[in-house]
């Protein structure tokens, strides 16, 4: 659905649910995931319905993902880093994971 207009900056490699994706330095995690064609970032805790980023400016909380073991990070506010590990969040979080 999303296509990069410009392929600028260094390549950054990160993992989303174990699968490597290529991003550009300066991307947010949300932008990188959307550009890589990730369909949804999480499913809601109560009804488990899929969500993807909405506002892309830190106020809607629909882009929540686990980044390097820390849960419910707003992907739109975190810049990509080489080697980062991102996991989508399905339903309620499991304590201890």
């Amino acid at each position: 659905m999303f296509k990069r207009l410009v392929d600028a900056g260094e390549t950054v490699s990160l993992k989303v649910d174990g699968k490597s994706i290529r991003a550009c330095a300066g991307d947010t995690v949300a932008g990188a995931m959307l550009a890589a064609g990730v369909d949804h970032f999480r499913t809601t805790p109560v009804t488990e319905s899929p969500r993807a980023p909405y506002c892309l400016m830190g106020v809607c909380f629909d882009c929540l993902v686990t980044i390097d073991g820390v849960g419910s990070r707003q992907a739109c506010l975190v810049p990509v880093r080489e080697g980062m590990s991102v996991e989508t969040q399905l339903g309620k979080r499991e304590a201890g994971r």
Partner: protein, 374 residues
């Protein structure tokens, strides 16, 4: 009194007032429930939702029996609410724990329970002291620092906000007149009926039940009663929703039916319900992680504080006025645990016009004078 618009005016729309109003409505009484407004201190929005038995009654043995009575009636009470409103308040009584993080804590706990159960007139019920491995069978996620716990099979919990909503839904359906933003400024008795003077007019009723929490201290003397209160603040830490892992409530930590974990039990003298102190909430959080290490990387979504409705000695007050017959006062800090009693036992007493001394005499505020004379 024939001619009064209402049979009973209940002051205070929290759990105590709402439960009492519901019970009175079930007895066929016409009830007006007066409440303050959304910006006022409202203790019933800030509860930990425990329906708790263990360790209640040290210093007043009758409180243990009164509590157990309510705990035993709670299941039936929640069924009635569900029938009337369709709302399930998720009452569960799996038993509950008080965890100890050191031998000293465990010993202190055992001593308190021993003293409690040795009191003359105490009702007998089971509370066991368990060691780490026994606790781990029921709470597999406890951390290594948990030395042991006391466990009581009569302890439980409920969704207290949904309980509050269910009571208000039920009283509305039963035709109770709910009057928000009607702060009672003065109460007089005239021509056999009570007149409640509020900023929005006067409410008249044949009987009066004061269930206004800490504000009972101001209101009770207007009708020849007293309610010595000692409000106390508590702060709560609330986590994001988690997959169920905790099947039993712990006195300072529980997982709700919706998955959030509530962490609490601080006590402060402050009466500012909007104040939060990081030191208090971080201490609570740290203790919670020592009890359940898997909580360490779980996110906190909010913290809040609330004021406990605490009497001078921590035990309930139920009284009827001698100078103003027909006026009653109800104060307690366990508005959730005692909800069933208020709805099913105390409300009918008020409807009949007299407290049943065989059940509630020990909770009269006269007990404070006995202590002062000693």
């Amino acid at each position: 009194m024939a001619g009064s618009e209402y049979d009973v005016a209940v002051v205070g729309g929290g759990l105590v007032g709402a439960a009492t109003s519901w019970g009175l409505a079930r007895e066929g009484r016409r009830v007006a429930l007066l409440d303050e407004g959304d910006r006022d201190v409202r203790a019933s929005r800030g509860n930990f939702a425990l329906v708790w038995v263990q360790s209640k009654g040290l210093g007043l043995a009758a409180y243990a029996g009164w509590t157990i009575r309510s705990s035993n009636a709670w299941g039936g009470f929640s069924d009635l609410l569900k029938q009337e409103t369709g709302l399930d308040v998720c009452f569960q009584r799996p038993g509950g724990f008080h965890l100890a993080l050191s031998e000293k804590e465990l010993e202190a706990r055992a001593n308190i329970l021993k003293r409690l159960h040795n009191q003359p007139g105490i009702v007998e019920y089971k509370t066991e002291m368990l060691d780490h491995s026994q606790v781990a069978k029921m709470l597999p996620d406890i951390g290594p620092e948990v030395v042991g716990a006391s466990y009581c099979p009569l302890d439980g919990h409920v969704n207290s906000l949904r309980l509050f909503r269910a009571l208000h839904t039920a009283i509305n359906a039963r035709g109770v007149t709910y009057l928000p933003s009607h702060r009672v400024e003065n109460i007089t008795k005239d021509g056999g009926e009570f007149r409640l003077h509020t900023g929005k007019g006067e409410i008249r009723a044949g009987k009066l039940a004061l269930a206004a929490g800490n504000a009972n201290m101001r209101l009770a003397p207007m009708v020849g009663l007293e309610a010595p209160m000692r409000p106390e603040r508590g702060q709560i830490v609330v986590t994001e929703r988690l997959r169920p892992f905790l099947n039993y409530p712990v006195v300072t930590l529980r997982q709700t039916d919706e998955g959030t974990v509530m962490i609490g039990d601080s006590k402060e003298e402050s009466t500012d319900p909007s104040g939060l102190t990081i030191g208090v909430s971080s201490t609570e959080a740290e203790r919670a992680v020592r009890q359940f290490p898997l909580l360490a990387n779980v996110n906190v979504v909010r913290t809040w504080s609330a004021i406990r409705v605490m009497t001078q000695d921590g035990f309930p007050i139920y009284d009827e006025s001698e100078t103003h017959p027909g006026a009653f006062v109800l104060c307690c800090h366990s508005g959730v645990t005692l909800c069933a009693n208020h709805a099913l036992t105390v409300a009918p007493m008020i409807a009949r016009g007299a407290l049943d001394k065989s059940l509630v005499a020990p909770f009269s505020a006269r007990r404070f004078h006995v202590q002062a004379a000693g």
